[in-house]
Amino acid sequence: MRETPRDRDEELQGEERQIASALRQLAAETRPPHPLPTAGQLWWRAEVGRRLAGKADGRVDQALRPATWGQRAGLAVLLVFFTLQAPALLESLGRRIDLGAPLPLVLAGLLPLAAGLLLGLLTRRT
Protein backbone atom coordinates (compact mmCIF):
# COMPACT_ATOMS: atom_id res chain seq x y z
CA MET A 1 0.00 0.00 0.00
CA ARG A 2 1.23 3.45 -0.84
CA GLU A 3 2.77 5.38 2.01
CA THR A 4 1.13 8.80 2.23
CA PRO A 5 2.80 12.01 3.34
CA ARG A 6 0.69 11.83 6.49
CA ASP A 7 2.01 8.37 7.27
CA ARG A 8 5.47 9.72 6.90
CA ASP A 9 4.79 12.40 9.51
CA GLU A 10 5.14 9.67 12.11
CA GLU A 11 8.80 9.36 11.18
CA LEU A 12 9.54 13.07 10.99
CA GLN A 13 11.15 14.93 13.84
CA GLY A 14 11.57 18.53 14.89
CA GLU A 15 12.42 20.91 12.11
CA GLU A 16 11.64 18.35 9.43
CA ARG A 17 8.13 18.03 10.75
CA GLN A 18 7.81 21.82 10.91
CA ILE A 19 8.92 22.25 7.30
CA ALA A 20 6.75 19.41 6.06
CA SER A 21 3.73 20.79 7.84
CA ALA A 22 4.26 24.31 6.53
CA LEU A 23 4.71 23.06 2.96
CA ARG A 24 1.58 20.95 3.13
CA GLN A 25 -0.38 23.89 4.41
CA LEU A 26 0.92 25.92 1.50
CA ALA A 27 0.01 23.14 -0.92
CA ALA A 28 -3.48 22.88 0.53
CA GLU A 29 -3.95 26.61 0.00
CA THR A 30 -2.68 26.50 -3.56
CA ARG A 31 -5.70 25.76 -5.65
CA PRO A 32 -6.38 26.79 -9.23
CA PRO A 33 -8.59 29.90 -9.36
CA HIS A 34 -10.48 28.54 -12.36
CA PRO A 35 -11.52 25.10 -13.65
CA LEU A 36 -8.63 23.14 -15.11
CA PRO A 37 -8.88 21.56 -18.59
CA THR A 38 -10.88 18.36 -18.40
CA ALA A 39 -9.41 14.94 -19.05
CA GLY A 40 -11.47 14.73 -22.24
CA GLN A 41 -10.06 17.98 -23.59
CA LEU A 42 -6.49 16.88 -22.88
CA TRP A 43 -7.14 13.48 -24.39
CA TRP A 44 -8.37 15.04 -27.62
CA ARG A 45 -5.48 17.48 -27.76
CA ALA A 46 -3.03 14.60 -27.44
CA GLU A 47 -4.90 12.61 -30.07
CA VAL A 48 -5.02 15.50 -32.57
CA GLY A 49 -1.31 16.16 -32.05
CA ARG A 50 -0.49 12.51 -32.60
CA ARG A 51 -2.54 12.31 -35.79
CA LEU A 52 -1.17 15.55 -37.21
CA ALA A 53 2.38 14.43 -36.49
CA GLY A 54 1.70 11.10 -38.23
CA LYS A 55 0.21 12.80 -41.31
CA ALA A 56 2.96 15.38 -41.49
CA ASP A 57 5.65 12.69 -41.40
CA GLY A 58 3.91 10.80 -44.19
CA ARG A 59 3.57 13.90 -46.36
CA VAL A 60 7.18 14.88 -45.91
CA ASP A 61 8.33 11.38 -46.87
CA GLN A 62 6.08 11.39 -49.89
CA ALA A 63 7.20 14.85 -50.97
CA LEU A 64 10.87 13.99 -50.62
CA ARG A 65 10.74 10.70 -52.46
CA PRO A 66 10.51 11.95 -56.13
CA ALA A 67 13.11 14.61 -55.41
CA THR A 68 15.46 12.02 -54.02
CA TRP A 69 14.95 9.75 -57.00
CA GLY A 70 15.51 12.67 -59.40
CA GLN A 71 18.70 13.65 -57.62
CA ARG A 72 20.04 10.12 -57.77
CA ALA A 73 19.17 9.79 -61.45
CA GLY A 74 20.83 13.12 -62.26
CA LEU A 75 23.94 12.18 -60.38
CA ALA A 76 24.12 8.83 -62.16
CA VAL A 77 23.75 10.47 -65.58
CA LEU A 78 26.50 12.95 -64.77
CA LEU A 79 28.86 10.26 -63.59
CA VAL A 80 28.26 8.15 -66.69
CA PHE A 81 28.74 11.18 -68.93
CA PHE A 82 32.02 12.25 -67.35
CA THR A 83 33.32 8.72 -67.27
CA LEU A 84 32.57 7.97 -70.92
CA GLN A 85 32.64 11.31 -72.70
CA ALA A 86 34.92 13.65 -70.84
CA PRO A 87 38.25 12.46 -72.30
CA ALA A 88 36.96 12.74 -75.88
CA LEU A 89 35.41 16.17 -75.20
CA LEU A 90 38.51 17.58 -73.57
CA GLU A 91 40.68 16.24 -76.38
CA SER A 92 38.45 17.89 -78.99
CA LEU A 93 38.43 21.21 -77.08
CA GLY A 94 42.20 21.09 -76.66
CA ARG A 95 42.66 20.94 -80.40
CA ARG A 96 40.47 23.99 -81.09
CA ILE A 97 41.40 26.27 -78.20
CA ASP A 98 44.76 27.71 -77.36
CA LEU A 99 45.14 26.41 -73.82
CA GLY A 100 47.69 29.10 -72.94
CA ALA A 101 45.11 31.97 -73.34
CA PRO A 102 43.66 33.59 -70.17
CA LEU A 103 40.00 32.68 -70.77
CA PRO A 104 40.50 28.92 -71.01
CA LEU A 105 42.65 29.07 -67.89
CA VAL A 106 39.92 30.86 -65.94
CA LEU A 107 37.32 28.44 -67.23
CA ALA A 108 39.50 25.51 -66.30
CA GLY A 109 39.78 26.93 -62.79
CA LEU A 110 36.04 27.47 -62.47
CA LEU A 111 35.14 24.04 -63.80
CA PRO A 112 35.93 22.09 -60.59
CA LEU A 113 34.05 24.72 -58.55
CA ALA A 114 31.00 24.42 -60.77
CA ALA A 115 31.15 20.65 -60.65
CA GLY A 116 31.39 20.76 -56.86
CA LEU A 117 28.41 23.09 -56.56
CA LEU A 118 26.35 20.91 -58.86
CA LEU A 119 27.18 17.80 -56.90
CA GLY A 120 26.37 19.60 -53.66
CA LEU A 121 22.96 20.63 -54.98
CA LEU A 122 22.20 17.17 -56.24
CA THR A 123 23.15 15.37 -53.08
CA ARG A 124 21.30 17.77 -50.76
CA ARG A 125 18.17 16.15 -49.34
CA THR A 126 15.96 19.23 -48.98
Binding site: A20, A22, E29, P33, P37, T38, G40, A46
Partner: protein, 175 residues
Protein backbone atom coordinates in the same frame (compact mmCIF):
# COMPACT_ATOMS: atom_id res chain seq x y z
CA UNK B 1 -19.08 6.12 -30.82
CA UNK B 2 -16.25 7.52 -32.90
CA UNK B 3 -14.52 8.78 -29.84
CA UNK B 4 -14.10 5.31 -28.43
CA UNK B 5 -12.30 4.20 -31.58
CA UNK B 6 -9.52 6.67 -31.03
CA UNK B 7 -6.32 5.73 -29.39
CA UNK B 8 -4.31 8.43 -27.66
CA UNK B 9 -0.91 7.28 -26.62
CA UNK B 10 0.46 3.78 -26.62
CA UNK B 11 -1.88 2.41 -24.03
CA UNK B 12 -3.59 4.37 -21.29
CA UNK B 13 -7.32 4.13 -21.93
CA UNK B 14 -9.52 7.18 -21.87
CA UNK B 15 -11.40 6.15 -18.76
CA UNK B 16 -8.19 5.27 -16.96
CA UNK B 17 -6.80 8.63 -17.93
CA UNK B 18 -9.89 10.40 -16.61
CA UNK B 19 -9.42 8.76 -13.22
CA UNK B 20 -5.72 9.51 -13.23
CA UNK B 21 -6.35 13.13 -14.23
CA UNK B 22 -8.91 13.63 -11.47
CA UNK B 23 -6.45 12.38 -8.87
CA UNK B 24 -3.42 14.33 -10.10
CA UNK B 25 -4.43 17.58 -11.82
CA UNK B 26 -5.01 19.92 -8.83
CA UNK B 27 -1.83 18.74 -7.09
CA UNK B 28 0.24 19.07 -10.24
CA UNK B 29 -1.12 22.56 -10.82
CA UNK B 30 -0.09 23.50 -7.28
CA UNK B 31 3.41 22.12 -7.83
CA UNK B 32 3.82 24.07 -11.08
CA UNK B 33 2.29 27.20 -9.57
CA UNK B 34 4.61 27.24 -6.59
CA UNK B 35 7.72 26.35 -8.50
CA UNK B 36 7.06 28.56 -11.51
CA UNK B 37 5.55 31.47 -9.62
CA UNK B 38 2.96 32.22 -12.27
CA UNK B 39 -0.61 30.84 -12.49
CA UNK B 40 -0.72 31.32 -16.28
CA UNK B 41 2.55 29.43 -16.67
CA UNK B 42 1.14 26.66 -14.47
CA UNK B 43 -1.92 26.45 -16.75
CA UNK B 44 0.23 26.12 -19.86
CA UNK B 45 2.63 23.60 -18.43
CA UNK B 46 -0.15 21.51 -16.93
CA UNK B 47 -1.65 20.97 -20.38
CA UNK B 48 1.71 20.33 -22.01
CA UNK B 49 2.60 17.86 -19.29
CA UNK B 50 -0.54 15.78 -19.76
CA UNK B 51 -0.27 15.81 -23.55
CA UNK B 52 3.31 14.58 -23.41
CA UNK B 53 2.36 12.10 -20.73
CA UNK B 54 -0.40 10.65 -22.91
CA UNK B 55 2.01 10.26 -25.78
CA UNK B 56 4.58 8.23 -23.89
CA UNK B 57 3.15 6.73 -20.72
CA UNK B 58 3.47 3.01 -20.16
CA UNK B 59 -0.05 1.87 -19.35
CA UNK B 60 1.26 -1.29 -17.74
CA UNK B 61 3.16 0.60 -15.06
CA UNK B 62 1.72 1.28 -11.61
CA UNK B 63 -0.09 4.52 -10.92
CA UNK B 64 2.61 5.70 -8.56
CA UNK B 65 5.18 5.30 -11.34
CA UNK B 66 2.89 7.04 -13.81
CA UNK B 67 2.47 9.88 -11.39
CA UNK B 68 6.23 10.19 -10.92
CA UNK B 69 6.62 10.17 -14.69
CA UNK B 70 4.08 12.99 -15.00
CA UNK B 71 5.99 15.07 -12.43
CA UNK B 72 9.25 14.40 -14.27
CA UNK B 73 7.72 15.72 -17.49
CA UNK B 74 6.36 18.77 -15.68
CA UNK B 75 9.69 19.47 -13.99
CA UNK B 76 11.57 19.19 -17.29
CA UNK B 77 9.11 21.51 -19.01
CA UNK B 78 9.49 24.04 -16.22
CA UNK B 79 13.27 23.80 -16.47
CA UNK B 80 13.08 24.31 -20.24
CA UNK B 81 10.98 27.43 -19.74
CA UNK B 82 13.49 28.82 -17.29
CA UNK B 83 16.29 28.19 -19.73
CA UNK B 84 14.39 29.69 -22.63
CA UNK B 85 13.35 32.83 -20.89
CA UNK B 86 16.55 33.17 -18.87
CA UNK B 87 14.45 34.52 -16.09
CA UNK B 88 15.50 32.33 -13.22
CA UNK B 89 14.08 34.90 -10.87
CA UNK B 90 10.65 33.78 -11.95
CA UNK B 91 11.35 30.52 -10.21
CA UNK B 92 12.17 32.35 -7.03
CA UNK B 93 8.88 34.15 -7.02
CA UNK B 94 6.79 31.15 -6.12
CA UNK B 95 6.73 32.15 -2.50
CA UNK B 96 7.59 35.80 -2.89
CA UNK B 97 4.67 36.56 -4.99
CA UNK B 98 1.14 37.04 -5.62
CA UNK B 99 -1.34 35.41 -3.33
CA UNK B 100 -4.13 36.59 -5.51
CA UNK B 101 -6.25 33.53 -4.98
CA UNK B 102 -7.29 35.42 -1.85
CA UNK B 103 -9.47 34.87 1.17
CA UNK B 104 -6.94 33.19 3.46
CA UNK B 105 -6.02 35.90 5.88
CA UNK B 106 -5.75 33.57 8.84
CA UNK B 107 -2.49 31.97 7.74
CA UNK B 108 -0.84 35.11 6.38
CA UNK B 109 1.99 35.23 8.96
CA UNK B 110 3.01 31.65 8.25
CA UNK B 111 2.92 32.33 4.53
CA UNK B 112 5.11 35.38 4.93
CA UNK B 113 7.64 33.31 6.89
CA UNK B 114 7.63 30.68 4.18
CA UNK B 115 8.03 33.29 1.49
CA UNK B 116 11.12 34.57 3.16
CA UNK B 117 12.50 31.14 3.95
CA UNK B 118 12.03 29.60 0.54
CA UNK B 119 13.06 32.61 -1.47
CA UNK B 120 16.62 31.72 -0.54
CA UNK B 121 16.42 28.22 -1.97
CA UNK B 122 17.21 27.45 -5.58
CA UNK B 123 14.48 25.97 -7.78
CA UNK B 124 15.86 22.45 -7.54
CA UNK B 125 15.89 22.54 -3.75
CA UNK B 126 12.31 23.78 -3.71
CA UNK B 127 11.27 21.03 -6.09
CA UNK B 128 12.93 18.42 -3.91
CA UNK B 129 11.33 19.74 -0.73
CA UNK B 130 7.91 19.82 -2.37
CA UNK B 131 8.18 16.35 -3.83
CA UNK B 132 9.39 14.91 -0.53
CA UNK B 133 6.99 16.55 1.89
CA UNK B 134 3.92 17.41 -0.16
CA UNK B 135 3.86 14.54 -2.64
CA UNK B 136 5.53 11.98 -0.39
CA UNK B 137 8.04 10.62 -2.87
CA UNK B 138 11.08 8.69 -1.70
CA UNK B 139 14.65 9.56 -2.65
CA UNK B 140 14.79 7.21 -5.61
CA UNK B 141 11.62 8.64 -7.11
CA UNK B 142 12.72 12.23 -6.52
CA UNK B 143 16.04 11.47 -8.21
CA UNK B 144 14.15 10.24 -11.27
CA UNK B 145 11.86 13.26 -11.37
CA UNK B 146 14.45 15.98 -10.82
CA UNK B 147 17.27 14.30 -12.74
CA UNK B 148 19.92 13.91 -10.05
CA UNK B 149 21.56 10.92 -8.41
CA UNK B 150 19.73 9.23 -5.61
CA UNK B 151 22.58 9.93 -3.18
CA UNK B 152 22.47 13.62 -4.07
CA UNK B 153 18.79 13.85 -3.16
CA UNK B 154 19.56 12.99 0.44
CA UNK B 155 22.18 15.74 0.63
CA UNK B 156 20.13 18.32 -1.26
CA UNK B 157 17.07 17.61 0.83
CA UNK B 158 19.05 17.94 4.04
CA UNK B 159 20.59 21.25 2.93
CA UNK B 160 17.31 22.68 1.70
CA UNK B 161 15.59 21.74 4.94
CA UNK B 162 18.36 23.26 7.02
CA UNK B 163 18.26 26.46 4.99
CA UNK B 164 14.50 26.73 5.26
CA UNK B 165 14.56 25.97 8.97
CA UNK B 166 17.25 28.58 9.61
CA UNK B 167 15.21 31.18 7.84
CA UNK B 168 12.06 30.25 9.70
CA UNK B 169 13.93 30.41 13.03
CA UNK B 170 15.36 33.79 12.13
CA UNK B 171 11.89 35.10 11.46
CA UNK B 172 10.65 33.80 14.78
CA UNK B 173 13.51 35.47 16.65
CA UNK B 174 12.86 38.75 14.90
CA UNK B 175 9.13 38.72 15.62
Amino acid sequence: MARNNLEAGPGLGEEAFERFHARTAPALWGYLRRLGGDPALADDLLQESYVKFLGHVDAASEEREQRAYLYRIATNLLRDRWRQSRREILGLSWLLGRWEEGGRETSAPLRMDLESAFSRLDPRERAILWLAYVEGYDHREIAGIVGVKEGSVRVLLFRARKKAARELDRKEVQS
